[in-house]
């Protein structure tokens, strides 16, 4: 950020944007990984596991840095600055969003998407144990390409040799993780945390780009 000091506002904004890009990539990647860890689905009544697709990670909608934040700014800009309504009126009209928030949940999502988790389930996650059905032997399935020919897979991120990166990039002081035998149900919370941190070159895409390609074994 300090690179822009004394320069034009555009330079400052560009550096701020660069910083936000980093943060957003890191945050959304870790949220996705976090979602992977906690994606246990239990039926509210029977307690049995529900067979449903893996949760989609709507990280773009998370917190004020996602679409919600941009929409908020757009809303204030349109209603307050362009239409000329007072700030108080702008906020009073925004109560429609608060009503819509509840209405959409109870109309479309309640009991259909979110299966309430039992206390045992949450405590199990808290203690670092997960359902045996949560087979994480292939933890990297979610970030590795399934179709080698798909255009999305031709990104810098996916071309890297993932296992090598993880082994090479583990932070100092962290024990070596055997990626071949990662088995989430048997991992402790500390081990999971270490695993997530060890994935930083993958999750932190922009930082990853700035590292020497030879270090990360990237194919051109």
């Amino acid at each position: 950020m300090w690179y822009g000091r004394g320069e034009s506002s555009y330079i400052k904004i560009s550096f701020a944007s660069r910083s936000i890009l980093d943060i957003s990539n890191f945050k959304s990647s870790l949220l996705a990984l976090g979602g992977k860890f906690a994606s246990i689905n239990l039926d509210a009544d029977s307690g049995s596991e529900i067979d449903r697709p893996t949760a989609k990670y709507l990280t773009g909608f998370s917190s004020g840095t996602g679409i919600a934040g941009v929409m908020g700014y757009a809303y204030v800009t349109v209603i307050h600055f362009w239409c000329g309504f007072s700030f108080a009126t702008t906020l009073l009209v925004a109560n429609a969003f608060a009503v819509a928030y509840s209405w959409i949940f109870f109309r479309y999502l309640d009991g259909k998407v979110f299966a309430p988790k039992s206390k045992e389930d949450l405590m199990s996650i808290h203690n670092g144990n997960c359902s045996s059905d949560l087979d994480n032997s292939n933890l990297f399935e979610m970030i590795q390409p399934k179709d080698e020919n798909h255009s999305d897979t031709k990104t810098l991120l996916f071309r890297a040799n993932l296992n090598d990166e993880i082994q090479c990039s583990r932070p100092r002081g962290f024990s070596k993780l055997d990626t071949e035998s990662i088995n989430l149900p048997n991992m402790t919370l500390l081990q999971k945390s270490r695993l997530v941190v060890s994935l930083w070159p993958v999750s932190h895409y922009l930082t990853f780009r700035h590292l020497p390609s030879s270090y990360l074994n990237i194919e051109n």
Binding site: G35, T90, N95, A98, V99
Partner: protein, 103 residues
């Protein structure tokens, strides 16, 4: 609320940012210890009510501030403080909603 930070407190936007972050952070930190006691429906309803409370509080006190012709600094500070309470309501709602939808 961040979009209207300057409207809420022109000279203290940092305060608005802090009020918008801290309650949400507290919710996120404490969520694993009490979320299993509260159903999704209750959380969403509480979040919706908090959003409403936030909008109403900030709207009411910002209009009070706009109509206040007196130069009483104490009164102005009180209004801004109450607006910040409104921002905190919104932050609580955001934290609760975000965590609820993520887990």
């Amino acid at each position: 609320m961040l979009a209207g930070a300057k409207e809420i407190s022109e000279g203290g936007t940092a305060l608005v940012f802090v009020a918008n972050v801290l309650p949400s952070l507290l919710i996120k930190l404490s969520a694993p210890y009490w979320f299993h006691h509260v159903s999704y429906g209750v959380r969403i309803l509480a979040g919706s009510c908090l959003f409403g409370a936030s909008f109403l509080t900030v709207a009411y006190f910002s209009s009070c501030l706009a109509q206040d012709d007196s130069s009483e600094e104490e009164l102005t500070k009180r209004f801004i403080g109450l607006e910040l309470v409104g921002v905190m309501f919104g932050s609580l709602a955001c934290g609760m909603g975000e965590v609820s939808h993520l887990i």
